[in-house]
């Protein structure tokens, strides 16, 4: 059963990947709903203008007003993701030997349903604050989905908890915490209430910038760490670390662009281009940039989680295989686990 190459495990992994990959466009669409303030474009829920969600005429949806198109599309895709989450639970229930992972799948399904209900409540009460909470928990659900994908991967089964000190892991978890906190602040900026005083909003912006700096520093630190270590075990950590570097760079550029797209720059007299720049209210590219910034934020969370998982569960490298076996055997929890070596591959038996 615990054989890492068991095709039944691959099934769980595939299903988890599928749901996760589908959740990302869902986050985009949800972001577009906020960018276009389309949350109330459809005033009822769970129906759409009195129709059943799935029976709302396609032509009325596609050729309807843009805000309605986005909101109804978000609802449709959300229900598709919900259906796939059910499929994932069934597959996990039948194929996954680790009870805790099956439970995480149930938790994920529950989270998706809760998220849907929260979205519905937001519409029924027309409450912008609930919209903000809905926007905060969206990426968390996405992260949970990707965690299932990570935990059901072949690598996870091959790996074992890291023993000893783990500086990199701690940075990764800190990064994860920071990027989640950053998500909360960002969601506040996007869902600011008209009653807020300018100085409160300003302090949120400053917090957002400060945390962006911290996150950038943490990512730079991580990429130095994974490169400097002589230990080739760290090679594996380079993938998530590199991904983080790319995402953080992209995210900072997008953040700057988001500000410019919404509020122009403060240095207008610098060049004729800046002086002539006019913010485009609800322009297409502008809304894509703003939405992209929040969607990339959720990727940042997922990648930090990825790095954390990889640094807390290491796959022993062949050279140090002997050592690893020894250390594994000292660990009561993982006695059943075997180190992956080519000769130990066999057809899985339950």
């Amino acid at each position: 059963m615990n054989n890492p190459t068991n095709p039944r495990h691959a099934l769980v992994y595939l299903a988890a990947m599928l749901v996760t990959v589908l959740t990302f466009p869902l986050i985009w669409l949800g972001g577009l709903v906020t960018t276009h303030d389309a949350g109330m474009a459809v005033p009822d829920w769970p129906g759409t203008f009195g129709y059943n969600l799935f029976l709302y005429p396609v032509s009325a949806w596609v050729y309807g007003p843009f805000d309605l198109f986005v909101e109804h599309g978000h609802r449709l895709l959300a229900s598709v993701v919900g259906l796939f989450a059910i499929v994932l639970c069934v597959i996990a229930y039948r194929n996954e030997s680790r009870g805790w992972l099956v439970k995480v799948c149930y938790l994920f399904l529950g989270a998706i349903i809760a998220q849907g209900v929260l979205g519905g409540v937001r519409v029924l009460l027309d409450a912008r604050t609930i919209a903000m909470i809905h926007g905060c928990s969206g990426p968390l659900v996405f992260a949970l989905g990707s965690f299932i994908a990570m935990a059901s991967s072949k690598r996870w089964r091959l790996a074992s908890p890291k023993t000893g000190s783990n500086g990199l892991g701690r940075v990764a978890v800190m990064l994860l915490a920071l990027s989640i906190a950053q998500l909360f602040v960002g969601a506040h900026l996007r869902h600011s209430l008209p009653t807020w005083r300018p100085l409160f909003f300003m302090s949120l912006v400053h917090t957002h910038l400060l945390m962006a700096t911290l996150i950038l520093l943490a990512v730079l630190y991580v990429s130095v760490l994974v490169r400097n270590f002589a230990n080739s075990a760290n090679r594996e950590l380079r993938t998530p670390a590199n991904a983080l570097l790319v995402i953080v760079t992209l995210q900072i550029l997008l953040g700057f662009a988001t500000w410019v797209a919404n509020y122009a720059t403060p240095w207008v007299e610098l060049t004729p281009w800046l002086a002539k720049y006019t913010v485009q209210g609800k322009g297409f590219w502008e809304s894509m940039i703003v939405t992209g910034h929040q969607a990339t934020g959720s990727l940042l969370i997922v990648c930090s989680l990825w790095l954390a998982c990889r640094s807390y569960r290491r796959v022993p490298v062949e050279q140090s295989a002997e050592q690893s076996v020894a250390s594994l055997n000292n660990e009561p929890e993982s006695t059943a686990r075997k180190v992956f070596r080519p000769e130990s591959v066999s057809v899985g038996v339950e």
Binding site: W100, D126, P194, P198, K276, V279, Y312
Partner: protein, 419 residues
């Protein structure tokens, strides 16, 4: 559970849950959206009042105005005063964002504008403090880029122009894209009506506050004030100045000569343009002045806007840090009121209300001032600062250097032919 697999995630998880729960609870107390009483105006008119007196007086004025004009969710228009807004459009712009069962969209102002201009139209939306210049406070009834003389209200077309084109170099967006799709095509028009509504409401409130401070009877005064303010808006269209048709396709020598004459006027003592805009028009002048919105609660209330210790106490009434309204660098070609020669003509002849930029002194009878020809030369000079003489032949559009057509001049050439 799975958290045991990665121990630090355990504490992280509970942390996130806690923040999330906190956000839920803080969010479950929906704040009512209402017009904010104009405490800053009360405070600047009556310096000796205590905070409580200020807030009571402001509230009193706000209530009287509320009886006539309703709330942000349910706007009203008193039948006694001039009918300068279309209430159907005002109602569509008001209220929370969303569509009703028949797919009509409401809440346009909260969808597009509230972030900067605030529910009250006081220029104190959440993002306001981070913008330079600050978003317009409609309550003063003053607008910068319009076709009517100083002290007069903008026309509907002026407001629509600002909304469609935006104001380059400021946070004020261009909403022209709304016109491209059928379902949003009416929105700008509706929003312009709402700006008028907010402006009338706010100006009535301001004037009522002055009346109350002067011990006048609020209940009597409010209707008189309301009809005066509405009347001033009703007059706007008849006061609109139409710019003359200015030459776009110049004979190069004539243009150079006009620019030279215009430059002399720009540098003259009479116009003082260069005092503010600098000898080269690059905004290098010495003038350091504030706009009228800032002066209202600083200089006019005996507060020096340059001294932080003096203006800071006003922050508790909603004031934001005074910022200089510096003279524009004219060489960048970023004109907020529009970049055609006709637009510049209007700016120069009418000035920019609320900012230090004055209307030009015109020669009338025996008054010293600039003649109509002089103004046209001045316009050409200002225009040339960002559209210099390139040497292209404006009639054929051929550029003597490259020999190809100069796209920027094609329009001019067409105009010349059609004239």
């Amino acid at each position: 559970m799975f958290l045991k697999q990665i121990p630090p995630l355990n504490s992280l998880f509970s942390y996130v849950l806690a923040i999330w729960a906190l956000a839920c609870f803080s969010g479950c107390t929906p704040q009512e959206i209402n017009f904010r009483p104009n405490e800053l105006h009360v405070a600047s008119l009556s310096q000796d009042s205590t905070d409580q007196q200020v807030s009571e007086l402001a509230k009193k004025a706000s209530e009287h105005v509320g009886e006539l004009f309703g709330t942000p969710d349910l706007p009203k228009w008193p039948s006694e005063i001039a009918d300068v807004v279309d209430m159907v459009k005002v109602k569509r712009s008001a209220g929370p964002v969303g569509r009703d069962k028949s797919k009509v969209e409401y809440g346009l102002f909260r969808k597009h504008c509230v972030q900067c201009h605030g529910t009250t139209g006081d220029g104190q939306g959440p993002a306001a403090a981070l913008l330079a210049p600050y978003p317009r406070d409609f309550r003063r009834g003053s607008f910068k880029f319009k076709s009517t003389p100083m002290g007069k209200k903008p026309t509907h077309a002026d407001l629509v122009r600002t909304l469609e084109k935006g104001l380059p170099g400021t946070g004020m967006p261009a909403f022209g894209t709304l016109n491209h799709s059928v379902e949003f095509a009416e929105d700008i028009d509706a929003l312009a009506h709402y700006v008028r509504y907010l402006s009338v409401r706010g100006e009535v409130e301001r004037r009522l506050i002055s009346a109350i401070v002067n011990q006048e009877n609020a209940a009597e005064q409010v209707k008189i004030i309301a009809s005066k303010v509405a009347e001033s808006w009703a007059l706007a269209d008849s006061l609109s100045v139409k710019p003359p048709r200015l030459i776009t396709a110049w004979v190069p020598e004539d243009r150079t000569a006009a620019i030279e004459r215009g430059k002399a006027i720009f540098l003259s003592e009479l116009t003082a343009c260069s005092k503010c805009h600098g000898k080269l028009g690059d905004g290098d002048g010495t003038s350091q002045d504030y706009d009228e919105w800032t002066k209202d609660w600083t200089i006019r209330a005996g507060i020096d806007p340059n001294k932080k210790e003096e203006w800071k106490p006003m922050k508790r009434f909603g004031a934001i840090k005074p910022v200089l309204d510096s003279s524009r660098n004219l060489t960048l070609g970023a004109f907020r009121g529009g970049e055609t020669r006709e637009d510049l003509y209007l700016r120069i002849v009418l000035g920019i209300e609320g900012s230090p930029m004055p209307a030009i002194a015109r020669k009338e009878n025996d008054n010293p001032g600039v003649t109509e020809e002089g103004i046209r030369d001045l316009v050409e000079y200002v225009y040339s600062l960002s559209n210099p003489v390139t040497g292209a032949n404006p009639v054929t559009g051929a550029n003597p250097v490259t020999g190809g057509a100069d796209p920027t001049n094609e329009k001019g050439a067409e105009n010349e032919q059609s004239n």
